[in-house]
């Protein structure tokens, strides 16, 4: 199963860089069992669809500023929760679910299996290249979460299909 891991965010906006940091560590931890590609991406929406084109499975890692959880909380999100993350949607084009659907309709081979790992962050409004303590401490858990998703055989496609069906109706 061809898998891509996408670390999202802004590496110069303190905790907004956490998705990229997780992606970098996943790349370092990568082993021969996995043929996963690991990339970094700074804008969401259609850019994500284009980045994951051609893969069977995509794992997106992004910061969250929901205020619902304490900083450093790592969550696996469902597709309909995609908008909880900072960079999944793009204010200049479209949301993640819509972006994947337009790709699919246009004949782009986008993954059936899309997973999202969100990390609640503390500060994504100050310029800086260092994660805050709570978020830095959460990186190993997020990396482990991504590696576990990468190791899983096959995927639970039903969830994504269900969301797309809702969208079509």
């Amino acid at each position: 199963m061809k898998t891509i891991v996408v670390g999202m965010g802004n590496p110069v906006l303190t905790d907004d860089g956490v998705g990229m940091e997780v992606a970098r560590q996943v790349r370092q931890a990568g082993n021969s069992d996995s043929d996963a590609e690991v990339v970094e991406l700074c804008a969401g929406g259609l850019r994500i669809m284009e980045a994951v084109a051609g893969y069977d499975r995509a794992i997106l890692v992004d910061a969250m500023t929901t205020g619902n959880w304490v900083p450093g909380t790592v969550r696996r999100l469902r597709m309909e929760e995609a908008r909880l993350t900072r960079n999944g949607s793009c204010i200049h084009d479209t949301g993640l679910v819509e972006a994947l659907e337009i790709g699919r309709l246009a004949g782009v081979r986008v993954p059936d299996d899309v997973r999202i790992v969100g990390i609640e962050v503390e500060d994504a409004t100050t310029f800086g290249e260092t994660l805050t303590a709570a978020v830095a401490a959460a990186v190993p858990e997020a990396v482990a979460c991504v590696l576990e998703l990468m190791r899983a055989k096959g995927g639970d496609h039903d969830e994504h299909r269900r969301v797309l069906l809702q969208l079509r109706n």
Binding site: G9, N10, P11, V12, L13, D16, L41, C42, A43, G44, G45, L46, R47, E50, T65, T66, G67, R83, L84, T85, R86, N87, G88, S89, C90, I91, H92, D93, T94, G95, E98, E101, I102, G103, L105, A106, G107, V108, A124, T125, T126, F127, G128, L167
Partner: protein
């Protein structure tokens, strides 16, 4: 007094907030549009090597890094007092043309266009690119994706990387192109021209062919007579990469034309107590408040105003549409040039004309015999300019100026950016106010379409909050809250 707040549903990214205060008569008193503050940009840059700035500033925004990269590298050309060879300038402009095609295409089909193609009163869940495909057909979705893809390939080829390209260097460009690459670019440019013409045809058929939409464009809700700003070449024609900044008044008379270096002599910034973001205005006129007209210092810098400041287009096919644009929208020719159009919704049409001229310019540059020249870099050898380096380009969302000051070692001591959206902050605030005035009568809220009519007012500017705030926001769901005099929530309108 009623207080109406349009607020994001959650504390998600970008949380811009619109607050509408009603006066005692139930009319609109004040409208405030706030964008959250981002801290520490200046401190982040100070102390770094100047040559790192174009790449750092292009990190501000995941959507328009190409604009920041080029404004930044032009500021470095100026700071290091180095003149890039002609082929390097052409490669930069070629790269920028490909970027313009993707950016304007994406805006029209995914963001601005759905209001017209799907309809301004359609549910928000349908006013997106999927709705466009349902209305116009699946083929259009394929074409948009192919257009983005082929131009991203060109950006990657020329810029070294697809996202956050690195090709720009002070004094030129990091690599030249070979004939085979040139042919690929030429082929892409030809497809871009076809696609731009096709997009203009859709606009004709669906928007101009529908009286209700034409009436909406011509309606008073979206009419603002402000000064227009844009960059023009030596013949006063639209240019995105280089030239002089020209400002014309509401009747089309040239107020000023200056090299980007002189921006501080012409543009001042107004501070208001309710927002940290500053409002640029024309120094020569002064700040007279959020008002229209020749006596106001407020200007705008958008696709519409870029056409307004230009006497004509630099490419032939775009020129045909330019003529049609002004004659259709009731402009007269005075002293050999069209009087400005002030219907803000016409910005969408202007953007498509810019899409076409970017595509045509891309082909011209791809056919230029000098484009494959290996001479693409002048190594900086002069001293650091003591009064700083200034560079500007026309970003898709308005004139973008980078200003860097550095010590004699080239270490940054001060940074100032005026970004496209910042130029338009006063104009956006005024557009929101006008939309609110039409939708709130004697304290009664016309709920139907309120959110979208207000959103349409700022969507036409395609404001980039990431650039304006130096942040990186995503989607911005909105909530309108109506509060009574005691601050109790009496009504909530939600769009997620």
């Amino acid at each position: 007094m009623k207080r109406i707040t349009i607020d994001p549903i959650t504390r998600l990214e970008g949380h811009g907030k619109i607050e509408i205060f009603l006066n005692d008569d139930g009319g609109v008193g004040n409208v405030y549009f706030q964008i959250p503050e981002l801290r520490g940009f200046e401190q982040f840059c100070v102390g770094r090597q100047a040559e790192d700035l174009p790449v750092i500033t292009s990190r501000i925004c995941g959507v328009c890094p190409e604009a920041h990269l080029l404004a930044g590298v032009k500021a470095l050309d100026d700071l290091f007092q180095v003149e890039p060879p002609p082929a390097a300038k052409k490669l930069r402009e070629l790269f920028y043309s490909a970027f313009y095609v993707t950016d304007h295409t994406t805006h029209f089909y995914a963001l601005g266009g759905p209001d017209f193609i799907v309809g301004p009163d359609a549910p928000a869940s349908e006013r997106n690119i999927l709705g466009v495909v349902r209305k116009v057909g699946l083929d259009i979705g394929k074409q948009v994706i192919e257009c983005r893809s082929r131009n991203h390939d060109i950006i990657r080829m020329l810029g070294g990387r697809g996202i956050h390209p690195t090709g720009a260097l002070p004094g030129g460009w990091s690599k030249c192109i070979v004939e085979e690459e040139r042919k690929t670019i030429e082929a892409a440019a030809r497809k871009n021209i076809d696609f731009a013409q096709f997009s203009l045809k859709i606009f004709h058929d669906i928007v101009l062919g529908n009286k209700a939409y034409v009436d909406l464009i011509l309606s008073d809700v979206y009419l603002h007579r402000t000064h227009s700003m844009g960059t023009v070449d030596a013949h006063n024609r639209v240019n995105f990469y280089d030239g002089k900044v020209r400002v014309v008044d509401t009747d089309g008379r040239e107020l000023m034309k200056y090299p980007p270096r002189d921006y501080a002599a012409h543009i001042a910034e107004r501070v208001e107590p309710w927002t940290y973001l500053k409002f640029p205005y024309l120094k020569a006129i002064g700040w007279k408040g959020f008002t229209d007209g020749n006596d106001s210092g407020v200007y705008a810098a958008t696709p519409l105003t870029r056409l307004n400041v230009s006497d004509c287009m630099a490419t032939p096919k775009a020129q045909e549409h330019f003529d049609e644009f002004y004659t259709t929208l009731g402009s007269k020719k005075v002293n050999g040039r069209y009087t400005p159009v002030h219907y803000r919704l016409a910005t969408h049409w202007a953007r498509l004309i810019e899409l076409l001229t970017a595509a045509e310019r891309m082909l011209e540059l791809a056919m230029d015999p000098e484009i494959t020249s290996p001479n693409v870099r002048t190594i900086p050898s002069g001293t650091i300019r003591k009064d700083g380096g200034i560079g500007s380009v026309e970003a898709p969302r308005g004139t973008l100026t980078h200003h860097y000051e550095a010590d004699e070692r080239g270490v940054i001591t001060r940074v100032n950016l005026i970004v496209g959206t910042t130029n338009n902050y006063a104009a956006i605030s005024m557009s929101l106010r006008k939309a609110a005035e039409k939708l709130i009568v004697k304290g009664q809220l016309i709920k139907e379409g309120l959110l979208n009519k207000i959103e349409m007012a700022f969507r036409l500017y395609d404001p980039c909050f990431s650039c304006a705030t130096h942040a990186l926001p995503g989607q911005m769901p909105l909530r309108v809250i109506v509060r009574d005099a005691a601050g109790r929530e009496v009504e909530t309108l939600v769009r997620d």
